[in-house]
């Protein structure tokens, strides 16, 4: 029943501080927002914190929200800005502290594996593959990585990506060409 209500209408109800509408909206978009952030920052804990922050901003901005674009485009734009700012401040903080991210801990697997219980070797292999891909993604410049994640995992059009990142369609095309070329190079030795 919840699926019948468009997100834009839910936003109108959230503007009136309707908690139940907000709960529906969060449950509907939490997985996609969380994974967009996770693929971008490569850190599970940070992704969870940032995803919560995105929904906090949705709640705060509900009264000023104008349904000009699709809700997903609007919320992805909030997410992208938050991610870019977070990485900028994290890079600044790195000057003053040690590297706090334990990469091994970030690529916990098994949550989305199939029901058949995988062997310890399979799990390790899966973990290693996921780590290689994540490392390759993390090595891309921020704009390229965001464009690639939005295209590859969310299937957005160049037009939508341009609106989210705040650039032209041709710039998105160029970002993706460069991102794919870099990944080709970095995943050259990757084997299934």
């Amino acid at each position: 029943m919840d699926k019948e209500i468009p997100s834009e209408d839910l936003m109108a109800r959230i503007a009136e501080r309707d908690d139940s509408a907000f709960e529906i909206l969060v449950h509907r978009h939490q997985t996609s927002i969380l994974n967009l952030i996770y693929r971008f920052v490569g850190d599970r804990t940070q992704a969870k914190d940032l995803a919560q922050e995105v929904f906090l901003r949705v709640w705060q901005s509900a009264r000023t929200y104008q349904p000009k674009a699709k809700f997903t485009t609007w919320v992805y734009r909030i997410t992208a800005n938050l991610c870019f700012n977070e990485l900028k401040s994290a890079r600044r903080k790195k000057w003053f502290s040690f590297n706090w991210s334990d990469e091994d801990g970030e690529h916990t697997i098994g949550e989305t594996l199939s029901d058949g219980a995988p062997s310890a070797e399979d799990i390790l292999l899966e973990k290693e593959r996921s780590r290689q891909i994540s490392d390759a993604l993390q090595s891309l410049p921020d704009n390229q990585r965001m464009a690639l994640v939005l295209k590859r995992y969310d299937g957005l059009s160049y037009q939508e990506i341009a609106q989210i990142i705040g650039c032209s369609v041709s710039a998105v095309e160029s970002l993706l060409v460069r991102a794919k070329r870099s990944l080709q190079e970095k995943l050259k030795n990757y084997e299934k």
């Binding site: 709960e23 969060v26 449950h27 939490q30 997985t31 969380l34 994974n35 996770y38 693929r39 599970r44 992704a47 969870k48 995803a51 919560q52 922050e53 929904f55 906090l56 709640w59 690529h107 916990t108 697997i109 949550e111 989305t112 899966e126 593959r129 996921s130 891909i133 994540s134 993604l137 295209k151 590859r152 995992y153 059009s157 160049y158 095309e173 993706l176 060409v177 794919k180 990944l183 080709q184 995943l187 990757y190 299934k192």
Partner: protein, 161 residues
């Protein structure tokens, strides 16, 4: 279409972002050109590889965490790194109070002692001790036979009166 042009458009072709006419032109070129076809196959391989990146699921309390974040004070959200300050505050206040009390007590007693000349007395006694001990190096140190002899020699009748 030439290979060079096709290779420029391969990414957009893969994303189905070309105009329908261009999309067809690239498609037919790939059928006839082995080099471009291999390049496209490599692009597809990498695209498929990205599928292996694990997806994560939000925990069941995600919504509750969001609600808690909405309700928590603004300062706490803006400066999460300063959350330890209130915990350290009592300790630093105690240290500060102890320091102030120490300085005031020290100043008070210092003034009293200096006014009651106890320091001066101590100084006098100390200087006498120093002078007495220095007489050890005299030709006739106190309490020795030499000192007794000198006293006897220098005895005058007028002194006894």
């Amino acid at each position: 279409m030439k290979c060079r042009n096709v290779q420029k458009k391969l990414s957009a072709y893969q994303d189905r972002e070309l105009e329908p006419k261009e999309q067809e032109q690239v498609k037919s070129h790939l059928l006839s050109c082995r080099a471009c076809r291999e390049q496209f196959a490599e692009l597809e391989r990498v695209w498929q590889t990205l599928e292996e990146l694990q997806e994560i699921r939000p925990d069941p309390w995600f919504y509750r965490h969001v609600v808690r974040k909405i309700k928590e004070p603004r300062e706490q959200r803006l400066f999460p790194s300063l959350q330890w300050v209130p915990r350290l505050l009592p300790a630093s206040v105690i240290v500060f109070i102890l320091l102030v009390v120490g300085i005031l007590t020290g100043t008070y007693f210092g003034n009293i002692l200096s006014q009651s000349n106890i320091f001066l007395l101590h100084y006098k006694q100390a200087s006498e001790t120093v002078f007495t001990s220095m007489r050890v190096f005299d030709p006739a140190p106190p309490g020795t036979l030499a000192e007794g002899y000198f006293r006897m020699v220098s005895y005058k009748e007028s002194d006894s009166r």
